[in-house]
């Protein structure tokens, strides 16, 4: 589903994460950093879900910076 360039970017991003933290994808399992990288490399459904999340966060960074700089009501 995702091209190789995107996958390399996501794997690099995952590699920079802490090895001491896992992510629970509720109902689908809990994955530590290396397991997430393997899922992405093996093109599994979980791997696709992980790539989707990472890309969404990257794409949302400009939106996030606007939200955090807004004055509270």
């Amino acid at each position: 589903m995702y091209d190789e360039k995107t996958l390399r970017l996501i794997i690099a991003r995952l590699s920079a994460k802490s090895p001491n933290v896992s992510i629970a994808i509720v109902g689908k399992g809990t994955f530590n950093r290396d397991e997430m990288i393997n899922q992405v490399k093996e093109h599994t459904k979980i791997g696709e879900a992980i790539v989707k999340r990472e890309l969404e966060f990257i794409r949302d960074m400009p939106r996030l910076s606007i939200i955090l700089s807004e004055e509270d009501e």
Partner: protein
């Protein structure tokens, strides 16, 4: 006045175990506020028990914790509990589904069929877990802000806030935590903290509700 609450909480993997433990905090608060809580937990979180208690206790608030998708909420061992063809039981109730995806088709259908308000997540709900704390979720500093931001919705309802206010409380808490992490420099320096930051933001982005924003448990 009806003060019955029905809670369903599964605990069959790492993520659901965190939901299970953190839901305990909400149940404690509900008890202190005088609510009568029916607690369907672990293997008791099945379809038969759920519909039995839904009928016998007629709760005003249904708090669901487990695995979900756009069309279905699942109980213990992924048994289908509520699907888009079985939402009539949620009529006249406020529902909060702390599960992936349920606020979309399932939430829409529930409200069409008379559910007062359906709070949930339009996409995934993820939990960052510090590996060394995975057996003690309430003491996990990485998960804590994420779990508190989702717990506050249920506790705000219990305190008498409207659905709209409860969701807004969560948004505000997330924004406060994001700012705290970012402006303290922790996002840059603390790798573990980055997962908290990212999951706080992403879960909050997908938080949504359908139905009456002015509905509340205490009239």
């Amino acid at each position: 006045m009806n003060k019955n609450i029905l809670v369903l909480r599964t605990a069959y993997d790492g993520g659901t175990f965190y939901l299970y433990e953190w839901t305990g905090v909400v149940i404690e608060n509900a008890g202190l506020k005088g609510f009568d809580v029916s607690d369907l937990k672990k293997e008791k979180a099945n379809r038969k028990n759920f519909y039995g208690l839904l009928k016998s206790t007629n709760p005003i608030f249904v708090f669901l914790n487990g695995h979900g998708d756009n069309n279905t909420f699942y109980g213990h061992d992924d048994e289908e509990i509520i699907t888009t063809s079985s939402t009539t039981g949620l009529k006249n109730k406020i529902v909060y589904a702390r599960a992936c995806g349920c606020s979309t088709q399932l939430g829409d259908k529930a409200v069409q069929e008379g559910c007062v308000a359906f709070i949930g997540y339009s996409d995934y709900f993820d939990i960052p877990i510090q590996n060394s704390r995975s057996a003690t979720p309430l003491h996990d500093p990485i998960a804590k802000p994420v779990m508190e931001a989702s717990n506050v919705i249920a506790t705000a309802l219990i305190k008498g806030n409207t659905v709209g206010e409860a969701v807004e409380h969560s948004h505000k808490l997330v924004k406060k935590e994001l700012r705290k992490i970012l402006f303290s420099g922790r996002y840059k320096e603390d790798l573990e903290c980055r997962d908290t930051f990212e999951k706080l933001y992403m879960n909050d982005k997908h938080l949504d509700f359908k139905g009456d924003e002015n509905a509340k448990l205490i009239q």
